[in-house]
């Protein structure tokens, strides 16, 4: 069950971030981003689907990927807090993606080298490349906005101030993740720190941004202790599914 839960944590991260990005649909600042953002959302939701499916198989209770996504409440979701943060503006949205992808890319690369789970290895091989693209796309925007106009630089700094405190949680392993690491299914989260800091450091240097000291990182997502936004996100996401129990779509 520990591996099941650890994979569920990963799946929730991807679904919730994909959902948040999809909220931009049709409202991006330029047409090119109306194409790029669904692309990123699709990568994330695709990964979530495979992981939910794998988690459900490990659980062995016959649940489907949709049961996982649509029938768990806010206390049962296990995503980290970073991914559920609201979109706010384009600066927040791009920074959030950069933070996440800069963690996931080394995580998947490490997974490829060590995992004993074939499905997880398959996900890692595909997702590693996608995350490289997310780093590039979001990172370029962070640079453009950070070293752009006065307003864009201010917004970028606000985004860093708002979101940096949620990045510490990326490197924490829940008890379930710790077991999955011990069993050789997933790599040790804390080990990604150097690679993450390297990417963020490079981007921030070009973007004229500084990473703040964080005396108290915000955590809790892995225990289902979320912010108030996630409940609203899920209420909307699950509305049709829950209104028609047992239907096929």
């Amino acid at each position: 069950m520990a591996v099941f839960e650890a994979i569920l944590e990963l799946a929730d991260d991807h679904l919730v971030l994909g959902h948040r990005i999809s909220e931009w649909c049709g409202h991006a600042p330029m047409l090119e981003e109306d194409l790029a953002m669904p692309n990123m959302a699709l990568d994330l939701i695709g990964t979530a689907r495979t992981l939910y499916d794998r988690a459900a198989m490990l659980e062995g209770k016959g649940r489907s990927e949709d049961d996982m996504a649509y029938l768990r409440g806010e206390r049962e979701y296990r995503n980290c807090l970073l991914v559920e943060r609201p979109n706010e503006d384009f600066a927040h949205t791009m920074l959030r993606s950069l933070y996440f992808a800069a963690f996931m890319r080394p995580f998947w690369l490490a997974t490829l080298e060590m995992t004993t789970d074939e499905t997880v290895r398959g996900v890692a091989g595909k997702a590693e490349k996608e995350m490289a693209y997310h780093i590039r796309h979001a990172g370029e925007w962070v640079i453009r906005l950070g070293d752009g106009t006065e307003e864009s630089a201010r917004r970028m700094r606000d985004a860093v101030a708002a979101l940096h405190i949620y990045t510490g949680e990326l490197f924490e392993s829940s008890p379930a993740a710790t077991e999955a690491e011990a069993e050789g299914v997933l790599p040790v989260r804390a080990d990604m720190r150097a690679a993450w800091e390297d990417v963020i450091g490079q981007v921030f240097a070009e973007a004229l941004l500084e990473a703040p000291e964080v005396p108290y990182p915000q955590t809790g997502g892995r225990k289902g202790l979320h912010g108030e936004g996630l409940g609203h996100l899920l209420a909307e996401m699950q509305s049709v599914y829950r209104a028609h129990p047992g239907a096929t779509w």
């Binding site: 409202h27 600042p29 996504a69 453009r144 049709v240 239907a247």
Partner: protein, 311 residues
């Protein structure tokens, strides 16, 4: 006049007109209007479907819908590019959309009220669009024809996907089937109206036909669409909301009941239920994004300046 003759001969010989070729002002104007309108329709069309991405009732459908809406953005992009070859900028077209000067397909001024609308839009609205667009793949203006080839391929995928959503609902619970029927009831007539006024009342048709911008009349295309769609509805055991609809053995096609042209013109003139909301949303996206576009430009200039300084 001699120029017009030569031009018409090239058209008649099915030669493609390219952006650098000389062309009559009316030809250029008609194409700019039509391609722009078409591009705007793709862009505005992202909104009614985007409205259901966050509520799509399965992850598979959510992903497919995201991909579809993304494709529509892509179509908008090719089409703006095709229009740009005629010397009109995307910025200018966008402003005309926001000011109400440029039109987009009226169908997107109806709301998507239930999940079934997503299926029905794919089936009927994309279906009608394809009927209109397949002949455009042979349009005399090269860039438009080439854009349409790519667009049509993706649209027909969307149409099959939409039909499959409706089929799943029609074969689902009684509530799901009712939802599909309700959506069909609401979208049927607007879809039929997508082909425009009857041939007798259509302004632009004759010249566009001569220039091979258009190859079939509104009524011809409408007939094709109805004839293709009725058996599909029958297969799903759904009822098309037209009591006068019946097979006409003589013409080997369906006769349909009278179209509510008052409704048509009301919506065309910008009084459709979602007209104000659509433009408000598009403007908000554009205005809220102004600082991003400006920052991107400023950054690019800084970079250029630094590069030049370094050389």
């Amino acid at each position: 006049p001699e120029f017009l003759d030569t031009f018409q001969k090239r058209i008649d010989a099915e030669q493609k007109i390219e952006p650098t070729d000389a062309m009559p002002e009316g030809y250029r104007r008609t194409l700019v209007r039509q391609i722009g309108q078409h591009a705007h329709s793709e862009i505005v069309g992202m909104l009614p479907e985007g409205n259901w991405i966050t509520r799509a009732p399965s992850l598979r459908r959510k992903a497919a819908l995201l991909a579809k809406v993304q494709d529509e953005g892509g179509h908008g992009l090719y089409l703006y590019s095709a229009a740009e070859t005629l010397g009109v900028s995307r910025e200018q077209m966008t402003e005309e959309l926001h000011s109400g000067k440029a039109k987009y397909s009226s169908i997107f001024n109806y709301p998507t009220l239930t999940w079934a609308d997503i299926g029905i839009i794919g089936w009927l609205v994309d279906g009608a669009a394809i009927m209109n667009q397949i002949p455009l793949c042979r349009c005399s203006f090269g860039p438009y024809a080439r854009a349409m080839i790519r667009v049509c391929k993706e649209e027909s995928f969307h149409q099959r996907q939409g039909y499959e959503i409706v089929m799943t609902l029609a074969q689902g619970t009684p509530e799901q089937k009712a939802m599909a029927q309700d959506a069909l009831n609401r979208w049927w007539w607007p879809s039929i109206m997508m082909f425009g006024p009857h041939d007798a009342d259509s302004q632009h048709s004759d010249q566009s036909m001569a220039w091979k911008i258009k190859r079939f009349t509104n009524d011809e295309l409408r007939q094709k669409f109805i004839d293709a769609t009725v058996p599909q509805a029958e297969y799903l055991d759904l009822t098309i909301p037209d009591p006068d609809l019946k097979w006409n053995e003589a013409k080997q096609g369906y006769d349909h009941g009278p179209i509510d042209w008052d409704e048509f013109w009301r919506v065309v003139k910008g009084h459709g239920p979602m007209a104000r909301d659509r433009i408000k949303d598009r403007k908000a996206a554009w205005d809220n994004g102004a600082w991003v576009r400006e920052a991107a430009l400023t950054h690019a200039e800084k970079r250029r300046a630094r590069k030049m300084a370094a050389e």
